[in-house]
Symmetry: C2
């Protein structure tokens, strides 16, 4: 009887003993954006169950390091210096005894997706070469830890972040309670959700806490905030390429700016004409003709998107700025899309001075809020298929006081990759190991008894 | 000492004892194509290691059941009869004692991807309702077992099939030894490969034998063999919609056919003009203008595709028919693309009688080989970026005497989903279980000693 009690103790307590809290696991991400790189460090307890999610906490974050890594494409020799400083910071935060079992990632986003393919390849390989140096980088090195995220990965990781922070994973809540994600950065915009019907293309499968999710994920490169401003400028220039000065209907009157176009400096003068601006925006959002769209339905161009169904969506990053500044978000964060459209129409007809005097709006963003105030409702309704009266979209920046971006989701995803190896990855003790320890302990007990 | 020997025996042999060959696991797939449904049954031994691939064998296959499941979209009540017969066959082949732990899948392909979204949803839900009936279907039911595969899944599963049959998985062979896949069915065509550089969109990740593969995968719906014939016909009609009779440059002289177009019967008369035919084909393959293509590079339209790099490709299904019939494949199966192009140009100028007299070519396919002989090289070079002198493409139908299609890959993929659950899925004995059995046996031995 005593033996059986001991056996039960061994079965229950061995994992706890082996996994003391001194056995934290760590992961570090260098988030390489278009204009800067930022370090984030996460920590979590060792995995003890295969069907639950890990409790991952951010334990460190750096300031933004400017310029962005893409600036090094023609000075590859300087990458070591650029990255070296950030790795020193990682070494300080993560205890030395786990350096050799901790993964370090450098993951790049939209800014690098616009580089020519060969440049991007050289840059990534140069970074890999630097990180292969064990003196500089004592952390786990794996070539795939250094890469440009696909736009879909970026969106999917944001989806994971949000649903992770909403405690969706590991619960038995139905699929309809997962939250879809609308994300917009400077370069690209992403839409990710779990469709409630057939998913015929643009599928991204993830497995979290032992469950598989077949997500619809699409990223529209060049549909981010900064690139839309650029594209509208380019469109206007192309209507009259000889002229050096152009009226820009998406800019407030009294605002001027310049743009380099094929080697020449072009000046834009704010015209404050929302109807004309919206016509240009809509030309970028057109859906393909019926006989050019397959599988159906199409969102922008020939891009397939299943109906958004009954999901709720969280809109993050550049989706939040203009609607908030224009006061079209209710107290619970719900976006009032038709009000945004109306408000933006009026706002766009103000002068820059009127728009920024005695308001929270800075001159720098005065015109951008006009454009984004028109673009966001157009994108959501014309392209994605939300109705203008939708109650489904909530704007958020933080959940549980944690910034909502893709990095946390990337770590959740990567720890799930470990999970599929049943705890055999570096730093984990696997079940067969526990089994062996159990038997040895039991044996020892019985032999000395 | 004797105890330690016993312990070692227990550690080594318990899995074998628990996993006798009477413990085969099974999976059944109803492959629901556009014109018929076909049953395939696979069998594999229980999993004993997490980092190796299972040895999966096909043990049963049915004739094709016509018509295709999409014919039932307006007679949902008859689905039970249609599927019931096939399930009876599954019951006969799979031993009764494992019915309740065997998964049955109904996976549909391109034919169902062209249905209106609501019709497709109703049809899938009706099938799910039928399969929920335990009397009719004693096998494991899970709503996601019944679905329309995305085009990318279809391509990825074919990629898995091929690389599985080539023993790529579980080996330590470098990524460059994986084989890319070019697949073409009646409705769609798929391209899937492991890029050797950045992968910026259209990523499909799979995990097999504990390793992750980030595949580029894209499916072009309406670019399959039958739909290309249809689209070219439609294109010709649209040039002169009033006429009831049209010259078709992609058909051999002496051949005629009809097509229903917006309620009217149109007649096509073979013109045998390969240059004109190729002009139409190329209009479907155009890449987007540089400023509409992001991320770059683009294949067809705005569809991103990274460079094909150094991979070898296997081309299967409808990629094999015309090149073989036109004699442009060498003895090792390598496609000679420039010769195919030349040969097709000459072939297209033959009359149907000349093309089919004293040759292996039937009247039914006479004109199709002209079109496909022009279309295949155009697709491979203009859209995908192979050079016309490429030595990378091998045409195959079977590997190790097993037909190369997506179904085997789907089963490999699904068994890997089980794997990520560490053997806890139905029918598996998990490591913790083995651990417990070990300890109990040891304990029993020691107590009775």
């Amino acid at each position: 009887m005593g033996t059986i009690v001991l056996l039960m103790c061994v079965m229950i307590f061995i994992p706890e003993v082996a996994y003391g809290s001194s056995n934290w696991q760590y992961g570090a991400i260098l988030d390489a954006g278009s204009s800067s790189t930022k370090l984030k460090i996460y920590r979590w307890p060792p995995r003890t169950s295969l069907d639950s999610v890990l409790d991952i906490k951010q334990v460190g974050e750096s300031e933004k390091h400017s310029p962005g890594i893409s600036d090094y494409v023609d000075k590859l020799g300087n990458i070591s210096n650029y990255i070296g400083g950030m790795i020193e910071r990682v070494k300080e935060i993560i205890p030395k005894n786990v350096h050799s079992t901790t993964s370090l990632y450098l993951l790049a986003t939209a800014g690098l997706r616009v580089l020519p393919e060969d440049d991007a390849r050289s840059l990534m390989n140069a970074i890999r070469n630097v990180l292969q140096n064990k003196t500089l980088n004592p952390f786990v090195f794996n070539p795939s830890n250094v890469r440009i995220l696909s736009g879909e990965e970026e969106g999917v990781f944001a989806w994971i972040t949000i649903n992770y922070l909403k405690d969706y994973f590991g619960s038995d809540r139905p699929q309809s309670q997962a939250v879809g994600v609308l994300e917009m950065g400077g370069g690209s915009t992403q839409i990710v959700f779990l469709p409630d019907g057939p998913l015929l293309a643009n599928m991204f499968q993830v497995r979290i806490a032992g469950k598989r999710y077949s997500l619809y994920a699409h990223s529209y490169l060049f549909y981010g905030q900064d690139y839309m401003i650029f594209r509208i400028g380019r469109y206007i220039i192309q209507q009259n390429p000889q002229s050096s000065s152009h009226q820009n209907p998406c800019m407030l009157t009294g605002d001027t700016t310049t743009m380099l176009y094929m080697g020449a400096t072009k000046t834009f003068i704010g015209e404050g004409n929302p109807s004309k601006c919206l016509t240009i925006i809509n030309s970028f959002l057109k859906s393909a003709a019926d006989d050019m769209c397959y599988p159906k339905p199409c969102a922008i161009g020939r891009t397939y998107q299943p109906s958004i169904g009954t999901d709720n969506f969280y809109a993050i990053a550049a989706f939040t700025y203009a609607p908030r500044s224009l006061g079209t978000v209710d107290s619970s964060g719900k976006l009032n899309m038709s009000r945004l459209n109306e408000t933006a129409f009026n706002y766009c007809q103000k002068s820059l001075t009127d728009a920024t005097t005695n308001t929270s709006i800075s001159e720098k963003y005065g015109s951008a809020y006009c454009l984004m105030g028109l673009y966001i409702p157009a994108l959501l309704s014309e392209a994605y298929g939300f109705t203008s009266e939708t109650q489904k979209i909530t704007l958020i920046r933080k959940i549980k006081d944690i910034s909502v971006d893709w990095t946390l989701g990337a770590i959740v995803y990567e720890t799930e990759v470990f999970e599929t190896k049943c705890g055999t990855s570096a730093g984990h003790i696997s079940y067969p190991d526990i089994c062996f320890i159990n038997i040895l302990l039991l044996l020892t007990y019985l032999m000395v008894r």
